[in-house]
């Protein structure tokens, strides 16, 4: 059952290099996803959540490189594997679905051809049985709510709606029985009622197949309801991670608190929503201390001087001096109070 660690990302550093710059897009990122667990990776645009999923899939663009840390799937370190070994891993062990299902499907081939080729690319030729696969593909599509799947396998992607295409892509990913599914904004292009259908499919797959899901999204409400744990990212690093219930009910990091306060609630009327002053710092000009300090209401001298470590606090991990009794932060407070 769940609980057994599947994916462990430890102290991961990723940089994007261009002729002029060398950007530290991920800094000291550590997360884990256990078997049968859905982990939400949230943050605003540019926080590095998509880079993290690309790094795990080893799909970083050519100028993106892992400069430190490890990505372990079971007992293998993916950062040490050669491209061929990674290719064999994609599909049977890790699969990925994206926001726009059209970009994952070729418009000029019927769905069946694409499913067949995708599976054939990842299994041993001797084990490949097209007839059996077709039956299994049809059964999986039916399971995901596509009626008349046997006939519809011969349809082209444009003959399906956005929600149906996303089901096809999920079915393709499932046929190789991966342990981990990385879903990068899989419902962002869909309408609310269609999003609910896709999300309920993911929840069911976790329950029935013990599938682990790394769910990358900007939609905090979706995370609150779908995920077991949440990882909050800001500007390339993890600021808070813990069980969804505790993080959303009682966020500790000032950034998490602001994010949650910025979202309108349906049954609770507030006069004003929480906003965050200033803007996300540029990766080429990161401040010396805590990356959030310039926008943080709790920032003090300590926060501008050094980068806080991740520490355990109230059942979760938080990267903030204000929650670290061993830091000089409390001392700063005394100074402020006296002054």
């Amino acid at each position: 059952m769940s609980g057994e660690p599947l994916l462990r990302v430890e102290h991961l550093d990723v940089r994007y290099r261009t002729a002029e710059t060398d950007l530290p897009v991920l800094r000291d990122v550590s997360i884990h996803v256990d078997r049968g667990e859905i982990v939400g990776i949230v943050g605003e645009s540019g926080c590095g959540k998509s880079t993290l999923s690309s790094a795990v899939m080893r799909l970083l663009p050519p100028n993106g490189m892992i400069t430190g840390g490890r990505i372990c799937l079971g007992d293998r370190d993916l950062t040490a594997l050669d491209p061929e070994a990674i290719r064999r891993l994609r599909g049977p062990e890790i699969a990925m679905i994206f926001q726009d299902p059209l970009s994952s499907l070729n418009p000029v081939f019927p769905v069946w051809t694409q499913i067949r080729d995708a599976v054939a690319a990842h299994v041993d030729r001797r084990d490949f049985d097209a007839t059996a696969l077709r039956a299994r593909a049809a059964a999986t599509l039916v399971e995901l709510g596509i009626a008349d799947a046997v006939r519809r396998l011969d349809d082209y992607p444009h003959q399906f709606s956005g929600g149906m295409r996303q089901r096809i892509v999920i079915a393709m990913a499932l046929l190789l029985k991966p342990d981990l599914l990385i879903a990068d904004e899989p419902t962002s292009a869909l309408d609310a009622t269609m999003q609910a259908q896709i999300v309920s499919i993911l929840a069911r797959l976790r329950r029935e197949r013990n599938l682990a899901v790394m769910f990358v999204t900007h939609d905090l409400a979706l995370v609150a309801n779908l995920c077991d744990r949440v990882v909050v990212m800001y500007c390339g690093s993890v600021v808070e991670t813990g069980p969804v219930r505790s993080v959303f009910r009682d966020p500790v990091h000032p950034y998490t608190r602001a994010l949650i306060g910025a979202i309108p609630r349906r049954h609770e009327h507030v006069e004003r929503l929480v906003t965050i002053r200033g803007s996300v710092p540029s990766l080429s000009q990161l401040p010396a201390g805590c990356v959030y300090a310039a926008r943080c209401d709790l920032a003090r001298a300590t926060c501008r001087a050094g980068v806080p470590d991740v520490r355990e606090h109230d059942g979760r991990l938080v990267r903030c001096f204000a929650t670290d009794p061993a830091s000089t932060y409390a001392h700063d407070a005394a100074e402020v109070a006296e002054g």
């Binding site: 709510g145 929840a203 905090l220």
Partner: protein, 343 residues
């Protein structure tokens, strides 16, 4: 809030789009197929009110907003603004009215010329309207209204963040001192914190300038913060309308209930996510909508012999109306109580 007398009256409004006919269609004398994007909508917006229009893509909410502003012609019905019929206006009258009725467009970058600096973008409405000097706001006044610093005046649109570009779009609409603003998805594409700032700004502008807003959105939670009243649209028609708090606390049309169940709130584990999809399938094509109740093909509660008739929007409580032929019996359905904890 402090809603005054009625400002906007929309009666039985319809907007149709006809397919362009090719040579073959004309030779074969095919009648063009007509999409009834908006189909018989009635609504009233009071002075200084924020009225929300919510629905999924293709429901006609944007078309309704554009028809009210005269950007698309109405096929049937009337629109009255401050007592005057504005359904069919000549060019000159329409231009004069534009000062009073403005729109915040969905894509701020698409509505800002990339070659103009913020300062000239902000004064462009004055050049178009030939506004006398004495009635113009200065660039810095306009920037201040939307909480931007005067340093932004020399920038080009590509130098602005999404939230800043949205504010410039809003400042442009404010330049002409309008009374009524249609805001189409005012926070789409924005990050959570930038979106919150825009929502706060809309509330501030309503208070400070006595503005009236029609806010079009697909996100019903936005309206819980923003709207005094709201209408839910499905396939060109309003299915539920009322005070925002009433509709959100006791959604009564089966479609509204499905929509609210599908959009979870932020409280963790509040909803059973595996069951949150109360309706299956997708919105039928507006080209060929179901007869009678347009939601009946996806409705958990549809009954043969009852739902083939077009339902009227009827009050079920003071100021709260729904269009459902099965009200109030529908509440006795087993599915109704089973879904109650989801909505």
């Amino acid at each position: 809030m402090s809603a005054g007398p009625d400002l906007l009256h929309v009666d039985n409004l319809s907007t149709h789009f006809a397919d362009r006919r090719g040579v073959i269609d004309r030779v074969a004398r095919r009648t063009p197929s007509v999409v009834r994007a908006v189909d018989g909508v009635d609504l009233v917006v009071a002075h200084n009110e924020i009225f929300g229009l919510v629905g999924e893509s293709g429901c006609g909410k944007t078309t309704l907003g554009r028809t009210i502003l005269g950007l698309v012609p109405a096929a049937e019905g009337t629109i009255r603004f401050d007592g005057d019929d504005i359904t069919d206006l000549g060019r000159g009258e329409r231009r004069a009215l534009r000062r009073r009725m403005q729109m915040i467009f969905q894509d701020p970058y698409a509505s800002l010329s990339p070659r103009m600096r913020v300062s000239s973008l902000l004064t462009e409405p004055y050049r178009i309207q030939n506004t006398p000097r004495g009635e113009r706001y200065s660039v810095s006044e306009l920037l201040e209204m939307v909480n931007l610093s005067t340093e932004q005046a020399d920038k080009y649109p590509h130098e602005l963040s999404g939230g800043q570009a949205r504010r410039i779009g809003i400042a442009r609409t404010l330049a002409l001192r309008p009374e009524f603003i249609v805001a189409d998805e005012p926070t789409s594409g924005l990050d959570v914190s930038a979106a919150a700032a825009i929502l706060n700004l809309i509330q501030d502008l309503r208070r400070e300038f006595g503005l009236t807003f029609l806010v079009i959105t697909h996100n019903v939670n936005t309206l819980s913060f923003l709207a005094d009243r709201l209408a839910v649209m499905y396939l060109g028609r309003i299915v539920e309308m009322g005070r925002a708090a009433d509709v959100l606390d006791s959604p009564s049309h089966p479609y509204t209930r499905a929509l609210l169940a599908a959009v979870p709130g932020i409280d963790p584990g509040g909803a059973d996510i595996e069951r949150a999809a109360l309706i299956e399938g997708e919105i039928p094509s507006p080209r060929n909508p179901p007869s009678g109740c347009r939601f009946r093909t996806r409705c958990l509660h549809a009954r043969a012999g009852v739902c083939e008739q077009s339902p009227e929007l009827r009050e079920i409580a003071a100021g709260h109306a729904i269009a459902c032929n099965r009200w109030p019996e529908v509440q006795q359905d087993k599915e109704w109580s089973r879904a109650a904890d989801l909505v």
